[in-house]
């Protein structure tokens, strides 16, 4: 009985690729100076331990910041690691652990992360979890190791949203950051675009065309309930959350062409925040709430501008080229990801906001919709390979590259969710 339950749990954890609709991640580039680490096989409940360590290894490997080295032998959490042997294998950090049954179908997993050159423990976290929580526990362990070794939060426990288009059907999906556990939040015959996460990760705002015109909805993920946040005469689009999560910047055409407004999340209190005779769209708040970045053709071609969130004059931010759109400020506010047209190719670019220097991060031709990981390390975006929409991710330094695709479907409009508290 118990053994069967365990197999089901382990199968759930180790065979995620069987689901065809799921995103699969392919690593296509890695960082230059990867830290050599070993995640030893954990001792104890073998099937559970293997499922855990395989997910931890895959997470760390996918980040592109670590070079995973074989530890040589299983390693428990309660023993000092064989430092000399690990050092001779060129390993800088090692994690060992143990998995024990804790009654009522639960497990207790204990981990010890050690600095090999210093021969010192970096931390000994412990986790109480069920078999169904294997992947989530593994992501937590990977986040712990990532943060201890890099000094910045890991994003393995975060989620992503994206839209899958198959014949006559659009699905707004939510999955773990590694593409597993995908769930449909909304299925529709009409297009869905521009999903964005509320700062606390509990809601998505998006644009749905189910009423034969674009309407902005706010969708509570726990309850599945949603409400209209903007449905005025004309088009309603491009929602962006304020850092407080209480307001949305939206684009409305009720007074003419596409213009920027702020509304309360319940749809009340519509206030115009910028005015132009042409197109203003794609608003996005800076993390500190000081500015709203947006795209405007007020200067003759689409370029990126910003306006103080309290109102005022718009300041032009992008100057090179004749098509710069979809501004996305980084979580630390120091840089800006956007899409630039570069000789007929639409590519993901990153601007250092202090120097205004621009670096093109990709060599693809149809990049769209960039979205920063909440630790600012990676940028997820949509692109096209072989005429099919895929998601890709690139590190802010352009070195680490991943491709996320779903078999036989178009994937687009990615949005990386916030850090899990």
């Amino acid at each position: 009985m118990k053994f069967n339950a365990l197999l089901v749990a382990a199968g759930l954890a180790v065979a995620p690729l069987l689901a065809h609709a799921q995103l699969t991640v392919e690593i296509t580039g890695a960082g230059a100076n990867r830290l050599p680490v070993a995640i030893a096989d954990f001792t104890g409940e073998r099937i559970v331990a293997q499922a855990l360590t395989s997910v931890v290894r895959a997470d760390l490997d996918r980040s592109g910041l670590f070079r995973l080295i074989d530890a040589g032998a299983p390693l428990a959490d309660n023993l000092s690691p064989p430092f000399e042997d690990l050092k001779s294998r060129g390993i800088d950090a090692v994690a060992g652990g143990s998995v024990a049954t804790a009654g009522e179908g639960r497990y207790e997993t204990r981990v010890r992360l050690s600095d090999v050159p210093k021969q010192a423990a970096l931390g000994t976290p412990a986790y109480l979890h069920t078999g169904a929580q294997l992947r989530a526990t593994a992501h937590r362990i990977a986040d712990y190791i990532y943060e201890k070794l890099t000094g910045e939060p890991g994003v393995f426990s975060t989620r992503i949203a994206y839209v899958v288009k198959s014949t006559g059907r659009f699905e707004l999906k939510i999955a773990d950051a590694d593409g597993s556990n995908d769930q449909a939040a909304l299925a529709s015959r009409e297009p869905i675009i521009s999903p964005t996460w509320s700062p606390d990760g509990s809601k998505l705002a998006y644009v749905s065309f189910e009423a034969k015109k674009p309407v902005v909805y706010v969708h509570d993920l726990a309850s599945g309930r949603r409400h209209v946040a903007a449905n005025f005469k004309g088009s309603n689009s491009a929602p962006a959350w304020s850092p407080s999560g209480k307001q949305l910047a939206v684009v409305l055409t009720k007074d003419g062409s596409s213009q920027l407004y702020v509304v309360n999340v319940d749809g009340s209190g519509v206030t115009r925040i910028a005015t132009s005779s042409g197109i203003d769209t794609e608003p996005r708040w800076s993390t500190d709430g000081q500015y709203i970045y947006f795209t405007s053709d007020r200067g003759g071609s689409p370029q990126i501008y910003r306006v103080a969130s309290g109102g005022g004059n718009a300041e032009r931010i992008s100057f090179e080229g004749s098509y710069n759109v979809t501004p996305r400020p980084s979580p630390d506010g120091k840089s800006l990801a956007f899409i630039t047209r570069n000789g007929g190719r639409f590519q993901l670019a990153l601007m250092d906001l202090a120097t205004r220097q621009v670096q093109i991060l990709t060599d693809s031709t149809k990049d769209e919709s960039p979205s920063f990981a909440p630790n600012g390390r990676m940028i997820l975006y949509a692109t096209e390979i072989g005429g099919r929409g895929v998601l890709a991710a690139v590190s802010a330094d352009g070195r680490v590259k991943q491709k996320l695709s779903v078999q036989a479907a178009d994937v687009r409009e990615p949005a990386w969710g916030p850090l899990v508290r």
Partner: protein, 181 residues
Amino acid sequence: MRALISLSAVTLLLAACGSQPPAPEQNPAGVESRTPSGIQVETPPVKEVKPEAAFDPNSIAALKDPRSPLSKRSVYFDYDSYVVKDEFQTLLGAHGKLLAANPRLKMLIQGNADERGSREYNLALGQKRADAVRKALTLLGAREDQLEAVSLGEEKPACSDGTEDCWGKNRRGDMLYSGEF
């Protein structure tokens, strides 16, 4: 050493997969954000709008008659442009007249863009095209309150070959009457 980290949130998330019975043993308060279960929302069918009662039957017939200019509903635009070309004036004149003669008739104008570039920027471009058609119709007799100009951006292409010819078919404004949207 850190205390045991509780993972009740995660229980809920994984319970949502369906392979495991949902059995959160801890108080799920405050962690509902991690469970997207039960949020499969099917789009409700779009309600059919009944044609207005006081509506000239001859005009209704003309809308479907291939010999009438009224049967044509699309205005096409040049790349990156939202100027209505002269060749569409006759067509827009016929629709303006029909709207003027039938004050209860309503029209939804859907602007569209080709697929190149940003979806949201293309949505704004489509809106500009729908607005250009709306303005032309008001100059030709339609009243503002009969018309709504909206954009479908690049989301509803008439053609998806990715050729110049095909993109030209996607840069358009479509006119839909009461009952057709």
